[in-house]
């Protein structure tokens, strides 16, 4: 087993903390109590009844545990539990602990749920949509008796409850039309309003918590999208402790705690919240940065919050008072800042960029050294022209058109742009006109192939015939769309070995489309033209990082998330595992990895796979943190959205960093002249 050796800080649970119901007055959780380091990209946490803290690491595909020490604090060094199994292309996505017995976890990329107390093979559910099937499960919970497992079956937009002793078939399926992206789940104890107990389900796209009894009947809910207290922004983690519901409110950089109102009606109200956005890169001590999950210790004395972008798990202990004291610096500020999302497209002199926090798409003119914002469109909502989860952009400057895909609404829209490279540089609120959209939900399932789910549109790119290529996230495939934006052909899918295709880029000559397969750690090159002789289209797979893999390592050595094709045919790939831009050449028709830009160098990626995510991220020139979309402008400059660093980076033709744009604190490291 590989062990993460980069232990950065110790756990400092200062003293035994009182439980919630002890003492003379109300108490709350929220006082910083230390940081657990040594995790590369912790995404999910859970406590067992004996006080062990389980941590899922999405970078190393590992599961580790911090055990309590004699003084009641958690061991600072995590003990790895599972990592060798990760030789399969998996992405551990959720964890739940069962008393002192064991744990259950879900694997969003391998499409299964497994754990200790399950059947002999450890499998509770596998890929499918039946009673024993899941697709891209993101969250899991176990009831207090360790008898029932609830699964947020995200890809199937439903929740399953599995009785561990009864076998693998779900005893309850909740497929509520309210669900858009059910991402986590928790058990609620019996109460006057819920005599048998119930379930709380967190939906990341509707930003709501829905409540159910064990007949599957909806009994209420709370939340909405926004910043104000009680609202959420893309929340990703939920846990229950006694009758309280804790929500990791990811894009609001906080944890909110809800408690039931007294009475027979099931109603929850906000009790308190803690956390605020970090100001400087890496700020901790209670400041949060995209928390994705929260867990509460069995005695309620403290909580653990994981923040994957900062590679840490922060601990917060209980303190007197009904809520944390208000930070005077934050009063009235509202949301700290808007961040560049992962989705962008660059074409000619213009760039379109999605801003997830506002559900908007911004348009930039690139004629100057710094990108100049010239328009904005979108906003949170369901009507045409509004967005819930912008998931793909395809900008065609010559045609003055933008395609915008929205995974939550399952919609691909065409937007007409009033842009002209020779036009006077100015901002115009009326620059975008929403023309039309395809609603994939109205096409239903089984489009082009049997046994497929409703298309979930992700990244998209234009083809020379006026059509497009589109990643279908719900089925792990890439589709060819006609000029009417309706699906015409399957270009790539699981039958070709693709695991999790996430981005597409059409070559300048229009002959091929390159596909980034995040789960498989590879690229695919697919011919766009259908074979005239009826043969199977040629699909070429290019593994990334194979040469740098540690001996015996079979896990993917890269996680390509975005890609673009340079005018000269080279393929530039954003790899979020190694925080680098990997460059593929196609000389003599044979694609091979030529170099990688990142970690301050232009050379091959080296080092232990499990350490890459932690050691290769940074702020200085040629350092990135989870680089995202990228593209070339008219002048041949490479623009990279350096997502984890809240900035964009512009590189010249030689790969030198020419400029950064975005949050000042994150770009001054690139250019000292910008320091104040």
């Amino acid at each position: 087993m590989r062990v993460l050796t980069l232990l950065t800080s110790a756990c400092l649970i200062a003293a035994p903390c009182p439980g919630a119901q002890e003492g003379d007055g109300p108490t709350h959780i929220g006082t910083p109590a230390g940081t657990l380091g040594g995790h590369a990209r912790p995404t999910d946490v859970a406590f067992s009844e004996d006080g062990r803290l389980f941590v899922v690491d999405a970078a190393s595909h590992s599961l580790s545990v911090h055990s309590p020490e004699e003084d009641g604090s958690l061991a600072p060094r995590a003990r790895p539990l599972i990592s060798t199994m990760a030789n399969e292309p998996i992405r551990l996505s959720g964890i739940a602990a069962i008393g002192s017995v064991g744990h259950v976890w879900c694997d969003a990329e391998g499409h299964n749920v497994r754990g200790d107390p399950a059947s002999p093979d450890g499998i509770l559910a596998t890929r499918g949509s039946g009673l024993d099937g899941v697709y891209a499960p993101e969250g899991v919970a176990v009831d207090a008796a360790g008898q029932r497992v609830a699964v947020a079956d995200t890809g199937n937009r439903r929740v399953l409850v599995i009785d561990v002793e009864a076998g693998r078939s779900a005893t309850l399926v909740i497929a509520d039309p309210r669900f858009v992206r059910p991402i986590d789940v928790g058990f609620l104890p019996p109460s006057a309003a819920l005599p048998e107990g119930g379930l709380a389900v967190l939906d990341a796209d509707t930003s709501r918590v829905e409540l159910y009894d064990f007949t599957g009947t909806w009994r209420g809910g709370f939340g909405d999208w926004g910043y104000f207290p009680g609202l959420f922004a893309a929340p990703q983690g939920l846990t229950t402790w006694r009758d309280e519901i804790y929500v990791a409110d990811t894009d609001n950089h906080r944890v909110q705690v809800f408690a039931p109102k007294v009475g027979e009606k099931l109603e929850y109200e906000l009790k308190y919240a803690w956390g605020a956005h970090a100001i400087r890169p890496g700020d901790g001590d209670g400041l949060m940065h995209y928390p994705t999950d929260v867990a509460v210790a069995p005695d309620g004395s403290f909580a653990a919050v994981c923040e994957p972008l900062d590679g840490r798990v922060q601990l917060f202990r209980r303190a007197p008072g009904k809520e944390p004291p208000e930070d005077p610096l934050r009063v009235g500020i509202g949301q700290a800042s808007a961040h560049y999302g992962r989705v962008a497209d660059i074409d000619g002199q213009f760039m379109a960029l999605a801003e997830p926090e506002s559900r908007r798409v911004k348009l930039y003119d690139l004629r100057l050294a710094d990108p100049a914002e010239i328009g904005i469109t979108g906003g949170h909502g369901e009507r045409l022209g509004m967005l819930m989860r912008p998931s793909g952009l395809a900008l065609d400057s010559a045609a003055r058109e933008l395609l915008v895909s929205d995974a939550a609404l399952r919609r691909l829209a065409r937007v007409r742009l009033d842009i002209d490279p020779a036009q006077e540089l100015r901002y115009d609120y009326a620059r975008e006109t929403w023309v039309e959209a395809i609603e994939f939900a109205l096409l239903g399932p089984n489009v082009l192939e049997p046994d497929t789910r409703i298309i979930e549109p992700l990244e998209v790119d234009r083809t020379p015939d006026g059509g497009a290529v589109l990643v279908d996230g719900a089925n792990g495939r890439v589709l060819s769309l006609g000029p009417d934006l309706l699906p015409k052909r399957v270009l790539l899918g699981p039958q070709h070995g693709a695991v999790t295709p996430v981005d597409v880029a059409v070559t300048p000559d229009g002959a091929y489309v390159w596909v980034a397969d995040a789960g498989g750690g590879a690229l695919f090159r697919v011919a766009l033209a259908p074979p005239t002789d009826g043969s199977v289209p040629a699909v070429l797979r290019v593994a990334l990082g194979a040469a740098s893999a540690v001996s015996g390592e079979t896990r993917p050595a890269a996680r390509p998330m975005n890609l673009t094709v340079a005018p000269d045919g080279r393929v530039f790939v954003s790899d979020v595992l190694t925080h680098s831009i990997r460059v593929i050449t196609t000389e003599a028709g044979e694609p091979r990895e030529a170099l990688a830009l990142g970690a301050g160098t232009r050379g091959p990626v080296t080092g232990s796979r499990d350490e890459m995510w932690l050691t290769r991220r940074g702020l200085e020139p040629l350092w990135f943190c989870e680089p995202a979309d990228l593209g070339f402008d008219t002048r041949g400059r490479l623009l990279v959205i350096d997502h984890g660093n809240h900035r964009g980076v512009i590189l010249d033709a030689e790969g030198n960093v020419a400029l950064g744009f975005g949050s000042r604190l994150y770009i001054e490291a690139l250019d000292p002249r910008r320091r104040r």
């Binding site: 909502g381 007409r416 901002y427 609120y429 009326a430 006109t433 039309e436 959209a437 609603e439 109205l442």
Partner: protein
């Protein structure tokens, strides 16, 4: 989703203070409305005592239908409910068009908010609906947005109206 719309509209109004963007240059956007795009607080061409305003007409943004919005009073008021008649025609501009679904809304794109109201459509004839419950709560450029669904496709027609 009413909740979403109202919450967001309130957020937009409160948080943004309804501040106008810089560099605004035009009230025109998208479709080709006739009658000078009705850029007057009272629908142009109306006469004293008239019960209907001047129709606003626009070809849809992809060109497959034509929409016509006629205020059911001479002048669209500020901060009062009003109704309009919506008529849809096929691309020839004369044949009534009844799609699978149609919605009408109005927004201030410049200010990034809507009306804080849900509009109800009542069918009154072939390709004709009465839209009830509109309310413009401030002066400025409002945009009528008519979304039509045919199969899996939604297409928009839009027309601007300056409320003075």
């Amino acid at each position: 989703m009413v909740r979403h719309v109202i919450t967001l509209a309130l957020l937009a109004v409160v948080a943004l203070g309804c501040g106008q963007r810089k560099d605004q240059t035009s009230t025109q956007k998208g479709g080709t409305a006739n009658g000078g795009t009705a850029n007057g607080g009272t629908a142009q061409g109306s006469t004293a005592g008239a019960t209907r305003g001047t129709p606003l007409r626009a070809t849809s943004n992809a060109g497959s239908f034509t929409a016509e919005v006629t205020p059911l009073r001479a002048a669209i008021p500020m901060n009062e409910h009003f109704a309009v008649e919506l008529a849809l025609f096929r691309a020839d501009g004369t044949t009534p068009y009844e799609p699978e679904r149609v919605t009408l809304d109005a927004r201030m794109e410049e200010h990034e908010h809507g009306m804080l109201r849900e509009v109800e459509l009542e069918r009154i004839g072939p390709g004709r609906w009465r839209a009830n419950g509109l309310l413009f709560h401030m002066v400025g450029v409002w945009q009528f947005q008519i979304d039509v669904r045919a199969g899996a496709r939604i297409e928009r027609a839009q027309m601007d109206f300056l409320l003075e």
